[in-house]
Each structure stands twice: as structure tokens, then as C-alpha cells.
């Protein structure tokens, strides 16, 4: 593995993001080891989603670096970051509502297929072979998330809980090395949350590193190996779920002193 003498998959150094006079992320340093669930928690407005947007280059940082497996991410475009094996889900769903369920996931296979526009326009035999393969890969991801029975439904006809899972399936279809999940359980009922929690464990089990932003503390404490607490864009505490839960600074930030 590249990345010097430590074993970290992701290294964030001195990361900072200001919007005009507002500092959303203030000099953040942390590392994420491979094949764990790494949760990022914090009160509303702590900068969690901003951090995800920085890690995926949707925002450009004011200062600092993000290194993934030896590659510097901050200068790359989001699609280039995806090529390195980093993908994500979104807090406010970004499902392609103009497509069916399986088509959404087939877009997820974009990086695992090659067909260009000229081949596609003339539908050369190579296209047919690849289409079949892509469909199988998409089906595999749908089965992993338990969505195989609704593969041919329009995404726009699905209830919220299913859309959440569909986003995960689409992200997994890319066979990422690291998956960023932004509030996967927000808006889900208890049963759905339990299913999502099992899904996160399965994802980790398949060797994918998970970065998790989530407000449901039950879920976070259950699935996470490491927890990082953000407050006003700064690192407040870091450790195992137990360590973080007992940290008086964390309790103060959440409950107010």
C-alpha cells in the first residue's frame, strides 16, 4: 500500500474551509484506517456534510490536504476521485428519478464498463456483450441491498426508505474502496434503520471502508469502529464509541453545560 509508513487509507491534514467570514471547517487533522466503519458525529451545523463535500471535491478547501491511498484529492474533480475508488451517498437524496431502479445502479457501473458514444450509437456487438455484463453487475448490487424484486420499477415511484437503499446500491455498484454515507438513516423508521445498520455491517464485511455521518446515535454506536466528534468545524474528540460516549467535552457539546 502507498502512503508512507502508516497504514491509514485516508489522511486529512490541516483541512480548512471558510465561506466568506464563516469558518465551517477549522484546521482538521485525522486518519482513517482501512476496512473499518469510521463515524463522524456532531451537533447540527458542526460541519459534517461540509467535510464530506471537501473529501469528494465538491467544495475546494481554503487550506489543507486530503490524501487517499497516496493520492492527493483536493486538486481532483469529483469524477476523478470516484475513479480512485471513493464514492458517496447524499443527505438530500440524489437518486436519478428519471430512470428505473436498475438503470440507476447501471450508472453506478459506469467506471467498470468502457463503451463509448460511437460504439453505442452504432450498437456494435461489443456493446451488447457489455450491456449484459453491466446488467448482471447492477443486479448483484441490488441483491446485496435487497432491492432485486423492484429492479424494473421507476425510481420516482419508490418510497423514501427504498430510495435511501437505492443510493447505497448505486454507490456499491462502482465497487468502491471507500464509501461516504451521509445520514443513511435519516427519515427511516426503526425497522428500516435496523436493515440499514445490517447493510452497513455487510458493506464493511465486504472490505469497503465506510465513512459515516449520522445523527442516530444508537446506529452510530452499534456499527462504528472509530468515532470522530466535530463541533463548530473543530475536532472535539476521537476514539472508540465507548471512549467518545464517556468524554465530558462531548457530553457538554451535545447537552449544553
Amino acid at each position: 500500500m502507498q502512503g508512507g509508513d502508516n497504514m491509514a487509507l485516508l489522511t486529512v491534514t490541516g483541512l480548512e474551509k471558510r465561506f466568506g467570514g464563516v469558518t465551517a471547517i477549522a484546521g482538521l487533522d485525522f486518519q482513517v484506517e482501512p476496512e473499518i466503519v469510521f463515524a463522524i458525529i456532531g451537533p447540527n451545523g458542526a460541519g459534517k456534510t461540509t467535510l464530506f463535500n471537501l473529501l469528494t471535491s465538491i467544495y475546494e478547501p481554503t487550506a489543507g490536504t486530503v490524501t487517499f491511498d497516496g493520492h492527493e484529492l483536493t486538486r481532483l474533480k469529483p469524477y476523478q476521485i470516484a475513479r480512485l475508488g471513493v464514492t458517496r451517498t447524499f443527505q438530500n437524496l440524489q437518486v436519478f428519478l428519471n430512470m428505473t431502479v436498475i438503470e440507476n445502479v447501471m450508472v453506478g457501473c459506469h467506471l467498470r464498463s468502457r463503451c463509448g458514444i460511437v460504439e453505442a450509437a452504432l450498437r456494435l456487438p461489443s456493446v451488447l456483450r457489455e450491456e449484459k455484463k453491466v446488467r448482471e453487475m447492477a443486479m448483484e448490487a441490488l441483491e446485496f441491498c435487497g432491492l432485486e424484486d423492484i429492479a424494473n420499477r421507476d425510481a420516482s415511484s419508490l418510497p423514501y426508505g427504498m430510495l435511501k437503499k437505492l443510493e447505497v446500491a448505486r454507490a456499491l455498484a462502482a465497487k468502491p474502496r471507500m464509501l461516504l454515507m451521509d445520514e443513511p438513516a435519516a427519515g427511516l423508521n426503526d425497522t428500516e434503520t435496523m436493515v440499514m445498520s445490517n447493510l452497513i455491517r455487510d458493506i464493511r464485511g465486504s472490505g469497503i471502508t465506510v465513512l459515516l455521518v449520522e445523527h442516530n446515535m444508537g446506529l452510530v454506536m452499534e456499527v462504528s469502529d472509530r468515532v470522530l466528534v466535530l463541533n463548530y468545524g473543530e475536532l472535539l474528540s476521537q476514539g472508540t464509541p465507548q471512549e467518545v460516549q464517556c468524554d465530558p467535552r462531548v457530553i457538554a457539546a451535545y447537552l449544553g453545560e
Partner: protein, 316 residues
Amino acid sequence: MRLAGLYMLAALFVLLGLIFPDSYYVTVVGVTVCTNAVLAISLNLLMGYAGQISLGHAAFFGLGAYASAILTTRYGLNPWLAMLAGLGISGTVAFVLARPILKLKGHYLAMATLGMGIIIHIFFVQADWLTGGPDGLSGIPEISIAGWPINTDLRWYWVFGTLMLFSTWVSLNIVDSRPGRALAAVHGSEVAAQMTGVDTASVKAQIFVVSALLASVAGSLFAHQQAFVSPESFSFFFSIELVTMVVLGGLASTFGALFGAVLLSILPEFLLVFEDFEVLIYGAILMIIMIFLPDGLFVSGSRFVTQLLRKRDAGR
């Protein structure tokens, strides 16, 4: 049956040509219908599927037409080579403009494509040493395919119809493929498309070029069929008419674009009886359709039929 619609269209097209070879409506209006259909289908790839509006599509139709007209009349080039040159010019213009223009969104994109169309139109009008200016260019030679001269209305009908069927096939192919899904993803959510690894700027540029190339071929054939080109055929108003066809039939549907082109091409023929009121009634029809069927005639219509069929099946 991915191509069932295409086979039905081909059958209809051949039957019309065989049964009514002398009908003005089939051969003359048919050529206009097919030309507009090619343009609407190509514009729909950009507008309907990728969600990128263009108010300058007629410019590429014009570039193809003028390339053929100029190179065959002034330089005596073989019409097929001239058509290829037209493709090269349209493709290059589209490729060079695609990245800066398609970076824009919404109204800004509309303005930029509008500007592009108008500038190219002004070039056709002003560069009279090359384009013949407002009077246009005449005496464009006829073409022949394998020694078969295309010199009757019926023969042109077959030529344009073939191009129309080819465009439909290409459009259906692209939509149902990796690049087609990437385009629809750009339309659905650009940020999510990027995070699945789609280079959104590049796929937008690619479809812009493909749509320009189809329009350019139609333009080259149009020049030979008319034997005359003038700037007014490629004006801003024609671009708007093409947008109307796509929207009227239903965005993001190949057959919707085709249907819109057919309807808007033959409607004026039927409205001729109203003489001065023609434009008024034309406008009223468009308004009524857009108010009551905002998804377009074809898309709303086919949805209605599907629901009827489903209800009937459920009733059994």
C-alpha cells in the same frame, strides 16, 4: 422488443411511399417531415435526455447546408465529399464550443446557444463573398446514389426517410447504453453523476457533437434537394420551432420528438384554409397542449394507453 417502434415506423414509411407515390402530401410534405424529424431527434438527445437546452440547433443544419452548397457550386467538389466536409466543419464548431457553452446552466445556457445560432446566422447573411449573402446560393447540383440520380420528389422521400430511420435507430441505441445512461444521469443529478465517475463535461460535449453531426447531414441533403440555400432557412425562428417540436412531442422520448416534428410539419398544411388566422390558430393549439399536456402529446398519450391496457387486464 427494443426496436419494435422503429420497425413499425419503417413499415409505415415504406407503405406510404409505395401506396401513394404521386401524392404531394407523402412525397413533398414527407421530405419536410423527415428533415424536421432528424433535427428534432438530434436536438432531443441533447435537450430531452441530457437536459441541456439549445436555442441554436438550426445553425448546425445551416453549416451542413452551406458547406455542401459552397463546396459543390464554387469549388466543384463531389457532393459526398462536400457532405463529409460539412460534417467536419459542424463537428469541429460543436466540439470547440461545447465545453465553454455547456458549462453554463438554465437561462445562461439558453442565452449562449441562442447567441451561437444568431452569430452563425449573421455569418450566412454577411459573408456574401462566400455564402451569397441574403440572396443565398443557387444551382446546387443534384446527387446520385450508386448511379441512381435523386431527381424526383419520390426519390428524395426515400433518401430523407432513410436518414430519418437511421437517426431514430442511433437515438434509440444511444439512449439504451452506457453513454446514454450517463447523459440521463447528468439530467437527473449532475453531482451524483460525477460521484459515480461520469465526466459530465465530456459526455455533454460528446452528445452536443453527435447532435450537431446529425443536423449537418440533414442540412447537406436539404441543400441538394432544394438546389438553393438562403439564410432564412436557418434562422433563430427555426431553432425555436425545433425546440417546440421536441417539447410538444415530449422530452426524453425519441418517438416523442419524431411525433412533434410530424405534427408541426403538417399542421401548417391543414391550417392554410384559415389564411390570415393561420398563425393565431397555430399558437392557440400549442398553448392548449402545453397547458393541459405539459409532458408532451406523445408521452402523455402513450402513458394514457398503457394505463387503459393495465386497467383492462386488471378487469379480467
